[in-house]
């Protein structure tokens, strides 16, 4: 994608880095002067994707998560990628309330939150091949 500005960060797949990823993306989009609502929605959606990579992608094992963010005009694109387990059935995974880990108090609402808080959600994944989540949001509506 053509962009006015872009960044990439990579970090260990540990839960401490969920807040780091939110803060980094929030700082990166700050020049666009997002509203509190827009910023909270972006941070929450990002948090869902990064958390999924930690919990489901690597399941507590060592691994690296890559977050790429760019914007063109007011259009923000965020890509979260892991080299973990991957998802066998993406359509099923995206269903509200579907979770493969109910015993860990997961509610199966992560993808739904991403879909509602962002304008567009694309999930590329295959079993054993890792997962790539791409989200877009138009600011200043």
């Amino acid at each position: 994608m053509q962009a006015d500005n872009k960044m990439v960060i990579e970090f260990d797949a540990v839960s401490e880095n969920e807040s780091f990823a939110r803060a980094a993306v929030a700082a990166f989009v700050a020049p666009l002067d997002p509203t509190v609502e827009e910023l909270t929605e972006i941070k929450t959606a990002l948090s869902e994707a990064v958390t999924n990579s930690v919990i489901h992608g690597y399941e507590g094992r060592e691994g690296v998560i890559k977050v790429a963010c760019s914007y063109l005009g007011g259009m923000v694109e965020i890509c979260v990628e892991d080299q973990g387990e991957g998802i066998e059935n993406v359509d099923k995974a995206k269903e509200p309330l579907y979770t493969s880990k109910p015993e860990q108090e997961r509610s199966g609402m992560g993808f739904t939150v991403m879909e509602i808080f962002m304008d567009k959600l694309t999930v590329e994944s295959a079993k054993g091949k890792g997962t790539k989540v791409i989200m877009m949001k138009q600011l200043g509506r």
Partner: protein, 116 residues
């Protein structure tokens, strides 16, 4: 900063601040459950007025504590959820099970009402 715990009778008050995510809920779950069991509490009132952001980890966390109080015939209440936090909880229909209250006093009053 940090979580503040408080007690009144069989009610446990938990005031949380900051961003409620997977990392934070993992730590909180353990301490809330330990205090709830050790002090033999029956109800939990969560004060979310200082929670700025919450992702779906918060849904599982709230529903999990609801189950703990329900097992003891008690209730779980939420106070002070901001619009973003409320929106996430609403997506999962949490408010049809866990009641949202205006303030702590209202929640305390509701714990005393033994409605089936």
């Amino acid at each position: 900063m940090g979580t503040v715990y408080d007690f009144a009778g069989n009610i446990l008050f938990v005031k949380i601040d900051g961003e409620l995510d997977h990392h934070v809920t993992d730590g909180l779950r353990e301490s809330v459950d330990r205090i709830f069991e050790n002090k033999n509490m029956r109800h939990i009132i969560f004060d979310f007025s200082e929670v700025t952001l919450m992702d779906s980890s918060g849904i599982g966390f709230v529903m999990g504590r609801f189950k703990k109080t329900d097992e003891k015939g008690g209730k779980t209440f939420l106070v002070g959820t901001n619009p973003y936090v409320s929106k996430v909880l609403n997506m999962a229909g949490v408010f049809s099970i866990v009641k949202r209250c205006e303030n702590r006093e209202e929640a305390v009053r509701l714990t005393k009402m033994e409605v089936k």
